[in-house]
Structures are given as structure tokens and as C-alpha cells.
């Protein structure tokens, strides 16, 4: 199974925000609290990734402590994906 590209996940992240009338900035260093991307949005993004990959992602709140920016989200999803 191949994973999703960073760009693809970025597009999905944009869709999560767009459904709430928000926009995803192009700058990966944008802070999540600045654009209103909350834990429920993170869960939705994970479900979108699960549906695309047809596999379940498992992670918990403590693992997200260091996730503060858009780029952190993309990195985090990237490392969760199956590699082969």
C-alpha cells in the first residue's frame, strides 16, 4: 500500500477547513490556533486519510503535543502512514 503525498494531505486539510468557511494558508509555518484548526478537525482529517488508504490510523492526544503548525500536521500524518 502506498501512502498519500504531502500535497494530497494538504489538500484534504484545506477541505476540512473549507467546510467551515476557513482557508488554509500556503505557509506551512502557520500556527494551527491562528487558523482555528482544532482537535475535532484533526480527527476529521485522520478519517479522510483512513478512507483514502482504507486503513485505520491510531494515535492519541499526547503524541500531538508537538504539533503546532500546518507543517507539523503534514509531518505527523506522513509518519503515521504505512510505508510499504
Amino acid at each position: 500500500m502506498s501512502g498519500l503525498s504531502r500535497d494530497h494531505v494538504r489538500t484534504m486539510m484545506g477541505e476540512v477547513l473549507a467546510a467551515q468557511g476557513k482557508q488554509l494558508p500556503a505557509d506551512d509555518s502557520t500556527r494551527l490556533d491562528g487558523i482555528g484548526f482544532r482537535s475535532l478537525d484533526f480527527s476529521e482529517l485522520a478519517l479522510r486519510v483512513e478512507d483514502e488508504l482504507d486503513t485505520e490510523l491510531n494515535f492519541d492526544a499526547p503524541e500531538l503535543r508537538s504539533v503546532e503548525t500546518v507543517g507539523d500536521v503534514l509531518d505527523f500524518i506522513d509518519q503515521l502512514q504505512p510505508t510499504a
Partner: protein, 405 residues
Amino acid sequence: MSAPCGAGNRIVTTGYVGTWADLPAWPDLPAAAAVLAEDNTDAVRAVWQHVMDGDRETLISTARRVDATQAEGFRSAGLAVAQGDRVEAPSTEHAVDAGRLWLLTSGSTGRPKQVAHTLDSLTTVSGEQPSRTWLCPYATGAYAWWQVVSLSLALPGQDIVFIEPDQIDSWPQLAMEHGVTAASGTPTFWRQAMWRSGATVAQLPLEQITLGGEPVDQGILDRLREVFPAARISWIYASSEAGAAIAVHDGRAGFPRAWLDRETPERPTLRVEGDELVIASPHAAEGMPSLIHTGDRVELSDDRVAIVGRLASDEINVGGSKASGSSVRRRLLDHPDVVWAAVRGRKAPLVGQVVVADVVLAGDATVTTGDLTSWCAEQLPDYAVPRRVRVLPEIPIKESLKSDV
């Protein structure tokens, strides 16, 4: 035994058209038997044999609902298992419980359980009734199926047209051919009928429309009223355990709050404990506690009690916030382009569960899933807004006529 008052009523199945009284006898059927019916023709023969002999003990179910383990359970409980010409003897001795009718529960929370009734406990309509030809689309042997069957046996002028599961898409044409004037089905059944064959359904001369088996919402009642302005539209709350407990004919969802805690001889008493409907019913199956905790969730308003869904599944815990699946479903169904909706919790990382929905849209709908999310967000708290909305090509309906997807 003398024939019941409805012996001359006409019944129609895929294999029989005639009166109850003219049904071919089934004399070889063992006195205590579980009849695993291939179709309604088998089932009505077993019913008639049970009624006329008077000293039988009978369970009737579709063969499809009963697996080998459950059939073995029937045998070890003293029932022969009859399927077509094949009869397997019981594996233990058993004194026939004369007149006993066993029903299987819907099995929505596991394997169907046996509940004990008699024809008397299943017969809940009495007195003079207008002559009708009933459509019976319910699963063979289910409580709702028995409600139509017992009505036809008890009262003259109550004919029945039985529908097999593979006829569920063509029932409006069959109903037209056989002059159906009354029909009973779940809200999902009616939604599917209006969505797939609305024009044909609208031509039926229906005088009585009955809904039951699932929570009944105002939307489907209003839609049916629009199409059948002169029909009597009723919804019934019934289960194989509690029996028929609530019948509402005023065209509104829910029942009057004044009915709560009212004790009338021979009538069910309705209570609310927490947000659960609790019933004490003279029509309950034998062996039930005097107060039956139904597991159904209610919502109280000033003058009404709405039955909204199952307690076990209605509450969706989203990161510690409690979303009500039925409230979300109601909001989706309020959208003019949504003809059917189901809402559930889906396991999700971080928050435990999120709300997700399946919908079926009207044929000419242009609404997008994003539009539906926004529609929900206008009235629901953030945690209750469906995070994934899937558009299904058609309304899913099970043999139970429910759509608990």
C-alpha cells in the same frame, strides 16, 4: 375447533389466492413445531393449522433468519423443526404447550430471542372495523406480521396481500392489482416507496396508512398526509416483548404527554425513567417483567413525547461532548433535498468518535455534502455536525423493513 370470525377473509401470497378456510391443511406438521417458512404461503398454512387444531405449539419464522445453531436450540427446547417437506424431530421430550405461539425478537442486539405469546395476546384490535384489504410487507413471523395476521383472523372484512422480500420494489403495482386499501410499514418502507415509486403509490386508494417498527418523524407523516389527504394515518409503537403499546392517529409524531403515567384497565401504562420509555402492557409477551424497559430514548416537549431512537446508539460521545444521533438525523431530514438519512458515531483518533451520516437525496437534488454540513452547522453544536457525509444511491432496507445500517 370452530373457525375464527375471519375465516372467510381472502389472503394473497405468491403461491395462494383464497380464503383462510380454504388453505391446504398441513396435518403432518408436528404438534410442537418451529416452522422455518420459505415464504408466506408456508407461513399462512402453519398459522391456519395452528388456529384450527387449537392444541398446537408453533413458532413461525422465515428460514433465512434461523441459523443451524438456533434451529438446534429449538429442537433441544422440544420443538420439531419443519422446513418444506423436511421435519427434524425434537431432541428432548416436551409436553406441548397448547395454543402457545413463539415469536422471535428482531435480534437487533444479538441473536433473536424467543418470546411467548398466544393468538389472544397478539390480537390487539377488536370491535367493528371498516372492511379493508391490507398490505403485509413485514418479515414472516415478526410481531408486526402477526398484528396484520391476527387482525385478519379475528375480524371479517380484513383481507391481506402478503409481500415477499424480493417483491419489495414492486409492491405498489401488486397492491394496485389486488385492490389494497390499507398498508402498514416502517418509516423506511414508506420513504423508499415514495422515493422509488411515488407516482404509483399516490394512485393507490389507501384509506389507512400505518407506520411502526422505527421512530416515526414528522417529515414522513407530513409527506404521507400530502399524498393521501383523506387517509387515516396512524403510527404504532409495538415490540414482540411489550406488544402493541401506543397507537397515535392525530398525524403528529410522538404521543401526547398526558398519556404518561395514566393507568387505565386493559391499556398499557407508559412511563419515562431518565430518558427511557418504560411500559407496563397487557399485551406483553409472557414472562416479561411487569415494567418493560424498552431501551428506546424519548424526548419530552410541552405536550408531546417523541421516541427518537435506541438509547444504546443515539448518544455519540465526541471527545466528552454528547451528540444526539436522532437530532442530527432530524436536521438532515429537514433539508428539502434529503429523502433519507442515518447517523452514527464512527471511531476516530483523538476524540474517540465523530458524527458521520449517510443520506439519500431527491432525484433532482443539487445539494453537495459540504452544503449539508453547513446546513447542520447552522443549528447544531460543532461536535454534532457530521464530519463525513456519504451519499448513497438508494435507501437501504432490510428484510425487517428497517434500515439500521
